[in-house]
């Protein structure tokens, strides 16, 4: 037995999607895009591979540099990268080809991405991302629109017990800056916050750590005596929560839960404002995430944008399968008329050999 040479062995994290999963995935994508269109999002399709400098520029692309497969383009002699995320490509389109289009600009996409490493919870290295980007407007309503559309889409796909976790990833940075704490304290606080080690934070026994303990307990967020910028972040978060709740209720999504975690920053390295993560009880890990970021193009002032992406592998694991159409077998010599008449009734026809 030589596993290395087995013809069906695929590289780590890559897989064949068979029936009915392949069909389920494409139907879900179609359903999601349709729901995005209802809010005026136009679908775009960037290429799988592009020059690495445009793919991994400042902003959204930068964080994924280590996750990006690269290759040399023999034609131009330049390095290319295979996209590990779609956001930076949409940002490039928005600021170049669509730079003169009226703002706000609403774009949607469904595209496979490839990553160098899978994660503990998502060993897949290739998976499909479906999402929206809303470019050129910075309002609470725009911040509400993102999680709202995501929740509507997931709910239409039959995902139950959806939970939206809201955060403002700049809060901790603002707090550190305003409290003027040392690099050492910043580092130990970051480690402890990552593990939500409340007792560890409390044991540091500084002014800042006391505030962070209060943020962790969050019994009374508006009353915490935070410095100005951090306080503004919290106020934004609470406003977002109440407006999102009202919007979800309008769409009959009373059962979608909203939680607040002002200290959540993981994976939000390039976000500059209101952000969120989508969970569903019983699903392993996140179903999607989104948030506000800056689109940065050399020589131009940054443009504000927000967006979200849904991870189709996670969604596919939890969304109920579409019910398959009725299927009938006919004899090998059945005539085409009989086949067509069954098909006209919506039956799938399989001719026996």
């Amino acid at each position: 037995m030589n596993a290395k040479n087995h013809p069906s062995l695929l590289p780590n994290g890559l897989l064949d999607l068979l029936a009915p999963s392949a069909e389920n995935e494409s139907r879900l994508i179609e359903l999601f895009i349709k729901n995005f269109s209802a809010f005026g999002y136009d679908r775009v399709k960037p290429p799988l591979v592009e020059f690495e400098d445009s793919l991994l520029g400042e902003g959204p692309g930068q964080a994924l540099s280590r996750q990006t497969f690269r290759m040399m383009d023999p034609v131009s002699g330049r390095m290319m990268g295979v996209r590990a995320d779609v956001t930076s490509q949409i940002a490039r389109i928005a600021t170049s080809r669509l730079a003169d289009n009226k703002r706000p600009l609403r774009l949607s996409y469904a595209a496979d991405v490839l990553r160098v490493n899978g994660s503990q919870l998502r060993p897949e290295r290739q998976f499909c991302q479906v999402g929206c980007e809303l470019i050129g407007v910075d309002t609470i309503t725009a911040d509400v629109e993102m999680p709202l559309i995501a929740a509507i889409a997931l709910s239409k796909a039959g995902v139950q017990n959806i939970s939206i976790d809201l955060t403002v990833p700049t809060l901790t940075k603002h707090l550190y800056d305003e409290m003027k704490i040392s690099a050492d304290e910043t580092e130990s606080l970051n480690d402890l916050i990552e593990k939500r080690d409340r007792d560890g934070v409390a044991a540091l026994n500084t002014k800042t750590s006391a505030l962070i303990v209060e943020l962790m307990d969050h019994d009374n967020l508006p009353k915490i005596a935070l410095p100005k910028k951090a306080k503004a972040d919290i106020e934004k978060l609470l406003k977002l929560q109440s407006e999102l709740r009202a919007a979800l209720d309008v769409y009959g999504l009373q059962d979608v839960q909203i939680t607040i975690d002002p200290l959540e920053r993981r994976g939000f390295e390039y976000q500059t404002g209101a952000s969120f993560t989508l969970f569903s009880q019983g699903a392993r890990g996140e179903l999607g995430r989104g948030g506000r970021y800056d689109v940065i193009v050399a020589g131009k002032s940054p443009e504000t944008a927000t967006g979200f992406t849904l991870y189709m592998d996670s969604v596919l694991r939890i969304a109920p399968a579409f019910s398959p159409a009725k299927r009938e077998e006919v004899k090998a010599d059945a005539d085409w008329k009989a086949v067509k008449s069954l098909q006209d009734q919506g039956v799938e026809v399989v001719r026996k050999a």
């Binding site: 919870l121 017990n161 939970s163 593990k195 939500r196 080690d197 962790m216 059962d255 009880q281 996140e286």
Partner: protein
Amino acid sequence: MTKPQKIILALPKGRILSEVKPFLDGCGIVPETAFFDDNSRLLQFKTNLPHLEIIRVRSFDVATFTAFGAAHLGIAGSDVLDEFNYSELYAPVDLKIGKCRLSVAMHEGEMAKDNPRQWSHIRVATKYPNLTRKHFAARGVQTECIKLSGAMEIAPSLGLARRIVDLVSSGGTLKANNLVEVEKIMDVSSRLIVNRTALKTMPEEMQGWIGKFRETVKAA
């Protein structure tokens, strides 16, 4: 509203279990009697609470079960948490039990011959390859770890590796094997751990348990 879901609490097998008992009492959890019977072959146990069940697994596996959401809550040592560094685990409460330290140990005679400043590469027998590699990498030393599951203490005398990295509490086992502790890597104690998705999707239920465990620590 979200449907009530069965909650799984993962507890470590072995010595630590007796230290965990007061926490179960403090939280009002009464496991079925087989739970305290070391000879029981059961792995999953009912409790007095209809929606709470307990699993009893190896201490390293507590972290894994909880990280992947197979268990919602667990009790695991900070050594295990730092070794795996699972992104999906939160460790909100220091239970202040199972206290010990993770240390480097070697034969007393070897120490005199050794100049740590000249190391570029060392070989270490340990159950904690990630923590060990990280610890030595921080001072520019590359580590070749030989992963063992137990009985690290005999590795130096049999020539498997000159150094070991292991948990030390009283130091008795080291002494019995002619080893001395040369360096402490970290202090260890047990933590209450919570799965990230569980905390985000069932905040009231999970915060309730976190609160109960925290109260029990205070009362102790």
